[in-house]
């Protein structure tokens, strides 16, 4: 009986998946239809936000919420900028290097950190994000202090400098696709199954012989490395960084995107970023309301849609079925 009733449901989900994929492709093409530089800029920001939030999602898959994600974006940004400007390293080498630096920092602090769980992990990551900002401000020779580092060289690949937004957009889109493909592979592999087991029930996973501490640390390292990777692209696109760019507010914005999109799904960060990042542009006449709207959306999603927007279609279909 149960198999009969799940058959059409799986069919519907894969149709839904195809619709979702087509919608994504159409959305990604929007800036070329309008041809507006500003729309290209928004699209780049959506990609970067989605990428960083996907890193945060990886950490959420083992049941932890990090408020230090902005700091890891910052670590990647500073690593790449310092490598390129001080040592003359090409961007294409600095980019993976920045992911490695962020991942290495996460690996070093992850072991003691991940003994904490729930709100205690949130609190310590909150403190670490603040500590990162304060320490960076103390070393202006490295960080540029409160005036930051300006005039960061643009992204260049094999000697070709990406001067204009459309070129940067193509590059960011490819990088986002790469990150999402990587996470898809991890999620569907043995590591992903361990993530899910740890998230579902830590004690049970431990009892079943899963090395929970190492599993959580792996998720923390992968998620933070993705944050660092995003930070490098962001720094070279925007051209300016300072310790304040990576403060508490940035970490909170990733949490909002992740929770709104869906904490436990792969598509969640994408949906969250597509929905929230361009939102202020549609509300241009009421721009001062944008943060209030973010706050309201966050509370409403938590209250009525704990699985985030990613869970909305299933929820609608489910209620339709029970209604009819």
């Amino acid at each position: 009986m149960s198999t009969v009733s799940t058959m059409p449901a799986t069919g519907r989900v894969s149709v839904g998946g195809a619709v979702f994929a087509i919608a994504l492709v159409v959305l990604a093409l929007v800036p070329w239809f309008t041809g507006s530089t500003f729309h290209f800029h928004i699209a780049i920001m959506v990609c970067l936000a989605a990428m960083a939030s996907a890193g945060l999602a990886t950490i959420a898959w083992v049941g932890q919420l990090s408020l230090a994600h902005g700091a890891f974006v910052g670590i990647g940004a500073y690593a790449s900028v310092l490598l390129v400007t001080r040592l003359g390293v090409p961007f294409l080498i600095a980019l993976p290097a920045s992911a490695i630096v962020a991942g290495a920092v996460a690996y070093l602090i992850g072991k003691p950190l991940l003994r904490l769980c729930g709100v205690y992990f949130v609190l310590i990551t909150f403190a670490l994000n603040e500590l990162f900002r304060l320490v960076m401000l103390e070393f202006p020779s490295v960080s540029g202090g409160s005036s930051g580092i300006a005039g960061i060289p643009k992204i260049s690949l094999f000697g070709i400098v990406l001067e204009h937004q459309p070129e940067v957009y193509v590059f960011t889109l490819v990088m986002l696709a790469f990150v999402m493909a990587l996470l898809w592979t991890i999620r569907n592999g043995p590591l992903g199954r361990r993530f899910a087991a740890v998230e579902e029930n830590l004690v049970l996973a431990e009892a079943s012989g899963i090395p929970t501490a190492r599993t959580q640390n792996a998720a923390f390292v992968i998620g933070s490395a993705i944050a660092g990777f995003t930070g490098a692209i962001m720094a070279h696109y925007i051209g300016f960084i300072s310790p304040e760019s990576f403060a508490f507010q940035l970490s909170v914005s990733y949490v909002i995107i992740l929770v709104t999109g869906g904490r436990l799904s792969l598509a969640g960060p994408l949906i969250g970023a597509i929905f929230l990042v361009p939102l202020p542009e549609f509300l241009r006449s009421a721009q001062q309301y944008q943060h209030i709207i973010y706050g309201v959306v966050l509370i409403l999603v938590l209250r009525f849609l704990p699985g985030g927007l990613a869970a909305l279609p299933r929820k609608l279909l489910g209620s339709e079925r029970s209604g009819g």
Binding site: L116, G118, L123, L134, H291, V296, R303
Partner: protein, 287 residues
């Protein structure tokens, strides 16, 4: 040198009292409702604006304004508990994320109403007390005095009234407290209201010293956060000890080293305490 030490000591105690007002509200809300309230600083900000409106727009006396601010904050807390936090009672993480949203709404609401510019608050008293070489501004003494009165009043309420006992029982064990007739539907909103009222009172007291703007909530939130981690989430005696400690550390490091060094030292301390003893200096162990 000895005068510098004495002066740092006095400044440290004044700072500590103010931090304690913020921290007790924060830790009470966590103890009662298991919510890490990231909007706590915004209630400090609202208290400061309420005092500004009372004193400069309505021309009320300062003492009456403070009393009205506290009453208003208790009502607001009960409303916020009902509308925002009640659905997340069994879910610490979602409650905390909801408080992030609440903080954004409150801060940007204030920005919309009052604009970003800092507003001057008329000083309530002027002049200084001189004890030997020490200098204590009267405005600070006033804030300290009223702060101590409010804290003592809160202590008496918590230890010697029916509601206070109910609150403490709920902090210790929710199920047993409910069995003994503590009614969560009254005590939860009251607990959040009281916690918020302490933050708002601190805002009203600090407004004459530091001015008023929509962004003033961030620092008190950080201080409350540090104090509460050091003292143990949910522990009021721990908060008292940690608040005085933090006040003294800040006052001494900024007199003898530098203000930014004080910030780094305290945050490093927070990370250290969380790693070694997550329940804080005087907190109970995690269940």
């Amino acid at each position: 040198m000895s005068f510098l030490i004495a002066q740092s000591l006095v400044n440290g105690v004044i700072l500590g009292t103010l931090y304690l007002m913020m921290a007790i509200g924060f830790t009470l809300v966590f103890g009662v409702m298991r919510i890490v309230n990231f909007a706590h600083g915004e209630f400090y900000m609202m208290g400061a604006f309420a005092a500004l409106i009372g004193v400069t727009w309505l021309g009320l006396p300062y003492a009456l304004t403070l009393a009205l601010t506290v009453a208003f904050a208790i009502l607001l807390g009960a409303l916020v508990e009902r509308v925002v936090f009640r659905p997340f009672r069994s879910d610490e993480l979602s409650g905390m994320i909801a408080s992030l949203g609440l903080a954004m709404i409150l801060q940007n609401g204030a920005l919309l109403l009052f604009g970003p510019d800092p507003q001057a608050f008329p000083s309530m008293v002027s002049g200084v007390f001189r004890i030997g070489e020490m200098i204590i501004p009267k405005s600070r003494s006033l804030a300290l005095g009223v702060g101590v009165v409010i804290l003592v009043g809160f202590y008496v309420f918590l230890m010697h009234t029916r509601f206070g006992r109910g609150l403490r029982a709920l902090v210790q064990d929710q199920e047993v407290a409910a069995l003994y007739g503590v009614r969560p539907e009254i005590v939860y909103p009251l607990g959040l209201g009281l916690g918020i009222a302490l933050a708002a009172a601190a805002g009203g007291l600090m407004a004459p010293l530091f001015g008023v703007s929509p962004f003033i909530g961030a620092t008190p939130l950080l201080k409350a956060f540090i104090v509460v981690i050091l003292g143990g989430l949910g522990s009021i005696p721990g908060a008292a000890l940690a608040a005085m400690l933090l006040g003294l550390i800040e006052s001494f490091t900024s007199s003898f080293v530098s203000a930014s060094a004080a910030d780094i030292v305290t945050f490093a301390l927070v990370v250290g305490v969380l790693l070694v003893r997550p329940s804080g200096i005087l907190g109970r162990g995690e269940s």
